[in-house]
Symmetry: C2
């Protein structure tokens, strides 16, 4: 591999001049030409390791996701990569294996690699490793959920109003008994979406039957199981809202299996618009999170910090809106009480 010295020699200038050309500084036109020529001729490219050693910049940002085989997370990662690329930054994607410990490991790993910043979709609601990262002056952006005791920029989704919109839509369509397939009670997004559900009920002066509020673990199996539980109730809901993609899929599977006709016999609103929701019948009414935008926003935020732009408030907490896409899984019903 040719080095900057080879280029300098061939171009008949010093390495300093070559470096200047390479970094777009002002150089006599003639010299610039000769250097560029030499670069091409030798097929030279900068040794990023040496540059990083000198500049303390790797032009790389680390991205930690809880599970590499979860489309929701990887889609966000793709969004980050797409947004960072134009700035010349690349990403290193890591899997924390849904554990705080795994997360700690990956943080250490990325620090070892001298990434210029870390975007993390937290696996739990604490992470001691992050504070140390901040002490080292490495910018951090949280995505999807907050972390206790940590002040950091974050890109969140307005989960509460997202859930609210769904439940409200159901209520407006005459439903009074709306089953909720929720995430874990102690988890950030689970909590927020639950609040949206409750708030809608409150605003319409309806009371909640705790029996039709179920808590799952965000995985398919869990949606499947809870849907069955709801349907087995002596007085089952007339509508279901599943507050996460995988649980939506599981729930739909359960309904299909029981030959329940949606929306004729049961109205349904799901979460997110990935893969499956494209083919499920009937076309599902869903609350969608702007995954691309989440990735993009996180990228912009960290870019700002990495380039030393400390304008604006710290921490900057972005709340992106969800969108309720109305399709064909909700039926209008008439309740005697209306």
């Amino acid at each position: 591999m040719p080095t900057i010295k080879d280029v300098a020699r061939l171009a008949g200038v010093s390495t300093a001049t070559v470096s200047r050309v390479l970094n777009g500084e002002k150089v006599k036109e003639e010299n610039r030409m000769r250097v560029e020529e030499a670069v091409k001729q030798l097929n030279y490219s900068t040794n990023t390791l040496a540059r990083a050693l000198k500049t303390n910049k790797t032009m790389t940002v680390g991205v930690i996701v809880p599970d590499l085989s979860n489309v929701f997370f990887t889609t966000i990662a793709k969004g980050i990569e797409k947004a960072l690329h134009p700035y010349g930054y690349s990403i290193m994607v890591c899997d924390s294996d849904e554990s705080v410990e795994g997360e700690r490991e990956k943080i250490a790993f990325l620090k070892d690699k001298f990434v210029d910043g870390i975007i993390i979709i937290p696996a739990g609601d604490q992470q001691p490793g992050l504070k140390r990262l901040q002490d080292d002056g490495i910018p951090i952006v949280l995505v999807d959920r907050l972390i206790e005791d940590i002040q950091a920029d974050a890109v969140l989704v307005d989960n509460t109003n997202g859930a609210y919109d769904a439940v409200e839509h159901l209520i407006v369509n005459g439903h009074r008994r709306i089953g909720l397939i929720s995430g874990p009670r102690h988890i950030f997004v689970g909590k927020e979406r639950l609040i949206g559900y409750e708030r809608a009920y409150t605003d319409y002066q309806l009371s909640i039957d705790p029996e039709i509020v179920k808590y799952g673990d965000l995985h398919i199996e869990s949606g499947y199981k809870l849907m069955n539980e709801l349907l087995d109730l002596p007085s089952p809901p007339t509508a279901i809202f599943a507050a996460n993609y995988y649980m939506s899929i599981g729930a739909i599977m359960a309904a299909n299996e029981r030959h329940i006709n949606i929306p004729e016999e049961l109205s349904f609103i799901g979460f997110d618009d990935i893969e499956l929701t494209k083919v499920i019948k009937p076309p599902l009414t869903v609350v969608v999170q702007p995954m691309d935008k989440m990735g993009q926003a996180a990228a912009e935020l960290i870019y700002k910090r990495m380039t030393g732009d400390d304008s604006g408030p710290f921490p900057a907490i972005l709340r992106l809106k969800t969108q309720l896409i109305k399709r064909e899984s909700v039926k209008k019903v008439n309740y005697p009480c209306l």
Copy 2:
């Protein structure tokens, strides 16, 4: 951040000695202790950049997948990571965006980062960038499919026999009219699985009706569409074999939508055992690829090459077996001709 010099000073030895301790070379016991003590006290950790600059080893391998939001690929990536971790290697996952050009970019990127090896799930069947990589002496391992004009170690799946087993199982259960939802004709795995189908027909002295062999693009929508086409035929198949995970899902969706009872009215064999196949009813009989093992095998192979072990043949082509998992989506039928 403390450097090796700080450690040397504190321990009262030279940097060379510190380096030796750090790299597990032989050092007087007392010195070792003092160095270790100093390391702990300063919370020192090696600057991997500096080390890599010197040694030309980053202890990182690049992994390029066609699509980060495809579970099949990311599961393999997870397998690679798990297997490489014990050796002290980490991975850098990249998304080629299912294009040869994107792949070329990522290869250049990884070369820039001086990864010690590259494991790639090719997006197409050529990639000029790889030959250059080999010329630079960077080990390459291909996963899932081969690349034209390139001699490289590879981990493949025995697609042909996998498909064969599925079709044979259907035949043995009395089916004579087996619809195939296949991948693109020009794509490696598509081709191989098609051959398996044909071979089974040949071996049982049956003839193939080209009308019930459909070619899709491996995505859900495609499975959905082709299933509908097959079912719309004047004389539809009595069984279907879908030769890829996403197309299997799409196909099942289509069947569900038409309220076709599997296996009573239609037998079905799908591909791979991820996410959905866990909840679909009835439990699906599937051909499963050993994704974990694929990742692991690729990791072992590249590790061997990275550590200069050139024993064994080159290129080493591993063919992993699939497994036919029999569940409840195939019904025995009786054909008059039997």
